[in-house]
């Protein structure tokens, strides 16, 4: 509660500050703020169902009725739609308010089934809680209640029980207003009103889990949690999601030492309480029975379980022997999926051993110099006048950032100028969408931004460029060239780098990035393929799945003499590793993580690691001791102290508490300017299709495949072309075609897609079924393919 300070009262009146009283206690509020929001800062709770602070108020459940003094006496108003006013007198608990609130609650309960004992929401149900705190105690409703078929699946994940629904419009409003997926809606009218999807069209939104979280009753439930636990049996801790680099704040909940649910936590600078479904439900993979629980060593063609001491001893011997050959014969790939501390411990170990060849990225990101250009935060991006997109489809790769940017374009003044070779989730909200053929973006950006209309727009205020890797089948240089073109026109623009992997920014800052001018991940793999790498350490990396040129990885792994993998699962890269060390997964370890804007926040352990798995940092420490180069880490706290004191970027997180809640921004480097290199893309032969390869939210990522609720949502591989190109090729949707490039052929189903431009073809990366990666030779700057019908 905010008490007005009598001394401050004499200060000049701020026009944006409003003084009112709620239940005779003074409250200071922001002009335009709603009474219910102002009251939330006091001890007086106003009951509510439809109100949600992140969505437009609708004032329809009527539960938040309060009295406001007017010249004609007290007037009953809904506090979720009535703004505060200077001198306003609000009362939330008079007899008539209580009577009204009790009345609304009795009415809400009239048709609500009394199945609380078998309802997942029971125990954490706003309807149940407020029936106790603000309800009438008993119901006088003796009529037959409304009946509907008990829960119906409205998507692969979400179930809807219309009998429990109190029609608060939260889920439907979220779907339409926040997610832009108006796939659930009120249907029918009056007492027959129900939430439904269009018949046989599921609620297939990437954000459907949020509706379950904000449902104030048990009407919406999600498959991964249904009947798994009771709220009073849950233990929970606040943490940060690392499924991608947005860094959404979450609550991690467990029961009987198993993760059972994530819920979004509302923090202002990042996720506003929302999560994407992948981030929300891929905890199932942590509980997977396929998790690695014990170290494995190769014995002939087989992996056999062994003890940590044997495994570490073997690993240190391999590293030592390789180093003895040549300092450049050891390399580390990965580290972006761990904590800052994990990365730092491994960087310290690498430093001690003189290993320069390390890279947390896998050739699918951008050069780390991107972090040294003038940076924008997510908030700064969304407050900008112009947001330029040189990025992958945010809806697919960084879903909650998509929600923020969409909100900025829909509800704030931001205008999106999108440069892309394929329509994205944000295209419908873009002010201008400018297409380009991969390789030609720099020229298109230059021509577009110098138009009179665009100059006027760019002159309106801050310009932020969201920049990432839009296409795995083109050289990253093209994106950097295009970015340089933007800076040529708008020198004071800022960038929001959107490299997708969970903690890639933290790992790079902590030192898991090429040192002393050594090569990046692709160079390392090339060196390995050429037999120059004796020992390769995969630190939570699965290059076979993540590097576009799988052929290169295959050759590299075949040539490496000693392959050491630290991972949570056996995967296609470490299947033949000499040593596999089981790593603790998300939820099983403490530390900090860094999101794409450089925000450091904590991740918190909730359950004990599976089997004997342990955090990466601990493995690095133990290895360092075994190698005789002790990095001197005695505990996580000790490691964290070393990190914040020796890496200036992390200094702001020195006080561990600062990483809780909103987190704290890393120190930003003095910005440098960017200069694009002069690489030029070849022209496309008119018979060919230029390839765009990008990720979708659900792909064969380990955490998705190992999550039973998500694995079924992954699409089968297909190549997508514009409908007119489909006609040109002369095949019908769904038939198999032969796609060829440089002597390689892949037979794959073809589909029409309005968002694909003519002359290009889109291949979603890592979908199930046909392996398309033989087509991707990332040594070339772009990839052109022939598409032919199969005779």
């Amino acid at each position: 509660m905010t008490i007005v300070d009598p001394i401050k009262e004499q200060a000049p009146v701020d026009p944006n500050v409003v003084n009112l009283t709620i239940n005779d206690k003074p409250v200071v509020a922001r002009k335009g703020e709603l009474i219910i929001a102002a009251a939330d800062r006091t001890d007086d709770f106003i009951p509510r169902f439809c109100y949600h602070p992140r969505m437009s108020p609708v004032g329809m459940c009527r539960q938040c009725l309060v009295e406001v003094e007017t010249p004609r006496g007290p007037m009953m108003v809904v506090s979720c739609m009535t703004p505060v006013a200077e001198g306003q007198v609000v009362r939330t608990a008079t007899d008539s308010v209580k009577k009204a609130q009790e009345g609304v609650l009795e009415l809400l309960l009239a048709n609500h089934p009394l199945d609380c004992p078998v309802c997942d929401k029971g125990g954490e149900c706003p309807l149940q809680d407020q029936a106790f705190s603000h309800g009438p105690g008993e119901s006088r409703f003796v009529e037959e209640k409304r009946h509907y078929e008990k829960p119906i699946a409205i998507s692969d994940i979400v179930y809807l029980d219309r009998e429990r629904c109190i029609l608060c419009d939260r889920c439907t409003r979220f779907a339409d207003e926040v997610a832009g997926d108006a796939l659930i809606t009120f249907t029918s009218r009056g007492n027959d009103t129900q939430v439904l999807t269009f018949p046989d069209e599921p609620f297939s939104s990437y954000f459907s889990g949020n509706t379950v979280q904000i449902c104030p009753v048990g009407a919406l439930t999600a498959k991964p949690y249904r009947f798994k636990a009771r709220p009073w049996d849950l233990e929970q801790t606040e943490s940060t999601c690392t499924s991608c680099s947005v860094g959404c704040r979450t609550v991690v909940q467990s029961s009987r030492d198993e993760l059972v649910r994530y819920q979004g936590v509302d923090i202002d600078p990042v996720n506003w309480g929302w999560l994407c479904d992948r981030g929300r439900y891929n905890f199932e993979s942590v509980n997977s029975p396929d998790r690695l629980t014990t170290p494995l060593v190769k014995n002939g063609a087989e992996h056999v379980a062994t003890s940590w001491s044997v495994a570490l001893e073997n690993a240190s011997r391999m590293i030592r022997m390789s180093l003895a050959q040549n300092a450049n014969s050891v390399a580390i790939l990965g580290g972006a999926r761990g904590t800052n501390e994990d990365a730092f411990a491994w960087a310290m170990l690498a430093d001690k051993l003189g290993i320069n060849q390390r890279d947390a990225q896998l050739g699918d990101g951008l050069s780390p110099e991107i972090f040294n250009i003038a940076q924008a935060t997510i908030d700064e991006t969304c407050a900008a006048s112009t947001i330029i997109l040189l990025s992958p489809d945010l809806k697919e790769e960084l879903p909650v950032l998509y929600l923020r940017v969409r909100d900025a374009a829909q509800k704030r003044k931001a205008r999106i100028v999108e440069f892309s070779s394929r329509d994205s989730g944000l295209s419908p909200y873009a002010w201008r969408t400018v297409g380009f053929e991969p390789g030609h973006q720099a020229q298109v950006v230059r021509e577009t931004l110098t138009s009179a209309e665009m100059k006027e727009q760019l002159g309106r205020g801050q310009v932020v460029v969201i920049v990432g890797r839009p296409n795995l089948a083109e050289n990253e240089v093209f994106t950097l060239q295009a970015l340089a073109e933007v800076f040529g026109v708008v020198p004071n623009a800022k960038v929001l780098p959107v490299l997708r992997r969970g903690n890639v920014r933290g790992a790079v800052a902590a030192g898991l990035t090429p040192q002393n001018n050594s090569g990046d991940a692709i160079d390392i793999l090339n060196a390995a393929a050429a037999g120059k790498i004796e020992c390769l350490i995969l630190l939570g990396a699965d290059p076979m799945s993540d590097v576009a040129d799988a052929g290169l990885v295959q050759r590299a792994l075949a040539q490496v003499k000693n392959l050491i993998s630290i991972d949570t699962f056996v995967n296609s890269s470490n299947r033949n590793a000499d040593i596999v060390l089981p790593a603790a997964a998300y939820g099983e370890k403490n530390g900090t993580t860094t999101n794409l804007e450089g925000r450091v926040s904590n991740v918190v352990q909730k359950i004990t690691p599976r089997g004997t798995s342990r955090p990466d940092w601990m493995i690095a420490t133990e290895l360092s001791i075994a190698l005789g180069v002790d990095i001197g880490v005695s505990s996580l706290e000790d490691l964290n102290q070393k990190l914040v004191s020796s890496v200036p970027a992390f200094a702001p997180s020195a006080d561990a508490k600062s990483t809780h809640g909103d987190g704290v921004l890393m120190t930003r480097e003095t910005p440098v300017t960017i200069s694009g290199s002069q690489t030029k893309a070849v022209d496309r032969n008119a018979y060919n299709y230029r390839l765009i390869v990008s990720r979708t939210m659900y792909d064969t990522a380990q955490s998705t495949v190992a999550s039973p609720s998500l694995v079924g949502i992954i699409n089968d591989s297909a190549i997508y072309v514009h409908p007119l190109d489909l006609a040109r090729i002369g095949v019908v949707e769904g038939t198999n075609v032969r796609v060829g490039a440089e002597g390689t052929n892949v037979v794959i189903a073809i589909r029409a897609h309005n968002g694909v431009h003519r002359g290009t073809a889109w291949l979603p990366f890592n979908h199930t079924g046909v392996d398309v990666r033989p087509l991707l030779n990332i040594a070339g700057d772009v990839v052109d393919v022939r598409i032919e019908p199969i005779k």
């Binding site: 997926d181 108006a182 796939l183 809606t185 009120f186 249907t187 029918s188 269009f198 018949p199 069209e201």
Partner: protein, 204 residues
């Protein structure tokens, strides 16, 4: 084939262009669709969603709110008997019972030959002429049971085809705006100036 046919698509585009935002045309287009098919089909809603740029779910949400849109086939003649107060005071209930007997169906039902659907209706804005009914939204006023018998017999005999087009046909006359006379609709954000005639002077 329950998407709009080519003629109706053309008409639909004309109607959409009259509004500052396409979704505003949704209800008129649902009527058009019902006129074409007799009721609102699933494919029709998907098609209308494409035309006005909203999801099928949004079309369904809107359509299902309004009484006039039927999601299953109804009779060629929809007989709505008003039962609200003034009509109730003047014998609506008796009229309904009589109609049920005459047609051999309960209120809400459709005769086996698909000719008639009988339904309860709410106030039809003809209260002084109670009791009233509508056949496909065209009135019969101060209806006695004998009038009703006559009406049904004549409808069956095809004597009233001119007065009562089949269910779905709402208005036999549509608005047409000659292109040279139309001001044209603009999205609200594209209008920034005050109307030309607000210049403080007489328009003529």
């Amino acid at each position: 084939m329950s998407r709009l046919n080519d003629t109706n698509v053309k008409l639909a585009r004309e109607i959409i262009a009259r509004y500052p935002r396409p979704k505003s045309a949704l209800i008129p287009l649902l009527h058009l669709s019902q006129e074409q098919n007799g009721y609102i089909t699933r494919e029709a809603m998907q098609h209308l969603g494409e035309l006005v740029g909203v999801t099928s779910a949004e079309v369904y949400g809107t359509a299902s709110f309004y009484e006039m849109f039927k999601f299953e086939p109804v009779g060629k003649y929809l007989i709505n008997i008003c039962g609200t107060m003034s009509c109730a005071l003047m014998g609506a209930e008796e009229l309904m019972h009589h109609a049920e007997k005459k047609l051999g169906v309960r209120a809400g039902g459709t005769t086996q030959d698909g000719m008639f659907t009988l339904a309860h209706a709410e106030c039809q804005a003809a209260c002084t002429e109670a009791p009233t009914l509508q056949v496909n939204y065209r009135y019969r006023l101060r209806v006695t049971p004998a009038d009703l018998d006559n009406l049904i017999d004549n409808l069956k005999a095809g004597k009233l085809n001119d007065e009562f087009p089949a269910h779905g046909v709402l208005a036999k006359v549509r608005q047409t705006i000659p292109a040279e006379r139309a001001v044209g609709a603009k999205a609200p954000e594209d209008v920034t100036e005050s109307p030309a005639w607000l210049d403080g002077k007489a328009a003529l």
